[in-house]
């Protein structure tokens, strides 16, 4: 059960919300859809779930076009819309039964299906309460239960953890992880730790275009580019620029050296080496050879957060 998005473009009036994006999700994969607010995540999800038609390009769910085979596509999809709209005056069981009926779940399996979803989503204690009376965390679970009531092969979750407290976030994430094993899941978020915690793959979208696509580790590596080191040495020298600088620069694989400043006899530098090569040992040996005291030596890694900021701010500015 795969989802294929091909050259998808969506205009609202003359405004381009989604600009020629293509990606695919394979069965059993959890795809994190990452981007700042207003990047086009929700619009893309609305198109995949057949709520809005694409302006151009195509979306296929299991080989079925969302435009031509809309009803069949919708049978396969479970959708949790942004802000989790619910009928506040219905009680939990009635609401889930309503959703189940709309998915043509037969009376014979209805009871067991409802019980299972209420069980899995931890709604047992509130099942006879009106949805309007529930806390935000419970509402979110009702939304998830609704999306999964017909055991869909594809789950589209638009910001499933927004507005929850940290404990609830962990719970919902675990739920998604557990249920997502046998399904194809697209989940959107602007919380980066969420992606690292739940997703197999990430698509970063900004201003309607895809700016990165890969596993969280791949993205980190890709945008690592160079490896940075912070170095601080204590040395009895007159001029760090002529006495220390060239000697650091001479170390193999070091591309750039930047002098950061001085504190007494301590001189601080930032070094950059070619990607994937660890030069900390050479820096240490050089210091010993020159009789410097190495006060600090650390390797700085780039986080997914940096990747995200780098990608989405470069274009915004």
């Amino acid at each position: 059960m795969s989802i294929t998005v091909n050259n998808l473009t969506k205009y609202y009036g003359s405004e381009k919300a989604v600009n020629d994006i293509s990606f695919s999700v394979h069965k059993g994969e959890i795809l994190g859809f990452l981007g700042p607010n207003g990047a086009g995540k929700t619009t893309t999800m609305k198109i995949i779930t057949c709520y809005l038609p694409p302006s151009s390009g195509s979306v296929e769910v299991d080989g079925l076009s969302v435009e031509k085979e809309s009803l069949r596509v919708r049978r396969k999809i479970g959708y949790l819309p942004e802000l989790n709209p619910l009928y506040l005056d219905m009680n939990v069981v009635d609401y889930l039964e309503y959703c189940a009926r709309l998915h043509n779940i037969q009376n014979t399996t209805m009871k067991s299906r409802l019980r299972e979803m209420i069980d899995v989503c931890g709604l047992t204690t509130v099942r006879h309460k009106d949805i309007g009376e529930l806390s935000k965390g419970y509402k979110q679970r009702v939304g998830l239960a609704q999306a999964m009531i017909h055991d869909p092969e594809v789950l589209i979750l638009d910001e499933p953890t927004s507005g929850l407290d940290p404990n609830q976030i962990v719970e919902i994430r675990n739920l998604i992880r557990r249920l997502g094993k046998a399904k194809t899941v697209i989940l959107s978020t602007h919380i980066l730790s969420e992606v690292q915690a739940t997703c197999d793959r990430v698509v970063i979208i900004n201003e309607g275009s895809i700016v990165a696509n890969g596993t969280p580790e791949e993205l980190q590596q890709q945008f690592q580019g160079t490896t940075k080191y912070a170095v601080e040495v204590k040395a009895a020298v007159n001029d760090p620029m002529s006495d220390i600088f060239p000697k650091l620069k001479a170390i193999e694989h070091i591309d750039t050296v930047m002098y950061e400043g001085q504190e007494g006899a301590n001189y601080r530098f930032t070094l950059q080496s070619t990607r994937g090569i660890d030069v900390r040992e050479q820096i240490f040996r050089q210091s010993v050879a020159e009789n410097w005291v190495l006060m600090e030596l650390s390797k700085q890694t780039i986080s997914l957060e940096d990747v995200f900021r780098k990608l989405t701010q470069a274009q915004n500015n």
Binding site: Y51, L52, P81
Partner: protein
């Protein structure tokens, strides 16, 4: 060909889905106070005016009842229908509904039948008036049967008009006001004949709801009147579906 089937599917409702929506909407009328308010308001207003004049007129007929009810419909029906689609749009649940495997026509029809059924339920206790009067004097059954059929058909038209009003906005107040205006328009059409040029009178009269209602309420059930009501309902419901689909434009 496939686009043709898709278009066809879009407007071809299935009974199962329509029934699911119908049951949910009817239940929610009773869950909220809407149903009880409608029934109480309806019965008390009608009851008061009806019994008040009944003994003055001293005839065994339901004529007054059939004259008053259409006036009450003008206010009550837009009030019932105003939230049906507007609320779903406001709260975003329309997105849930339209991403389930059902077509927009099923949503509109389910809601239409639910509101129509609520009106029918509100009319039901008025059968007591009939029983009371029938026991007091001899009553002509033709106009009574015709009157009830006419009221139901008129309610159907008003409900469909109200649903259309609810489909064009996400604000319930606006939906109510629009619904009232549209309904009032159909109500007033054959009452302004005096002010319009002569060549228009025939058309306006035919378009007016009351003209056809009056025909049926006399006890004469003519297929032209039935067709008028059903066509108007169908047309308004079709417009509602189109209006729901506007999100896709």
């Amino acid at each position: 060909m496939s686009t043709l089937t898709a278009t066809f599917n879009k407007f071809l409702p299935t009974i199962t889905n329509t029934r699911t929506i119908f049951a949910k909407e009817l239940k929610s009328f009773f869950n909220s106070a809407v149903a009880y308010v409608v029934i109480v308001v309806f019965l008390s207003i009608i009851g008061w005016f009806f019994t008040n004049n009944l003994f003055l007129m001293n005839t065994a007929s339901l004529r007054l009842f059939f004259e008053l009810t259409p006036l009450i419909f003008l206010f009550v029906i837009p009030a019932i229908t105003m939230r049906l689609l507007a609320e779903e749009k406001k709260s975003g649940t329309i997105e849930l509904l339209t991403t389930k495997p059902l077509n927009d026509a099923e949503i509109v029809l389910g809601k239409f039948f639910a509101a129509w059924a609520l009106i029918a339920l509100a009319l039901l206790p008025s059968v007591l008036y009939y029983i009371t009067i029938a026991s007091l004097g001899s009553i002509d059954n033709g106009p009574v049967v015709g009157g009830y059929i006419g009221l139901l058909l008129m309610a159907g038209v008003y409900v469909s008009v109200g649903i259309f009003a609810s489909s064009v906005t996400d604000n319930q107040i606006i939906a109510f006001i629009l619904g009232f205006l549209f309904v009032f328009f159909f109500f007033i059409l054959d009452k302004v004949l005096f002010y319009v040029p002569e060549f228009l009178t025939g058309i306006l009269e035919f378009l007016g709801v009351d003209y056809h209602f009056a025909n049926i309420a006399r006890g004469v059930i003519d297929s032209r009147d039935i067709i008028y009501f059903l066509t108007l309902m169908g047309f308004m419901l079709y417009l509602s579906v189109v209006s729901l689909e506007r999100r896709k434009w």
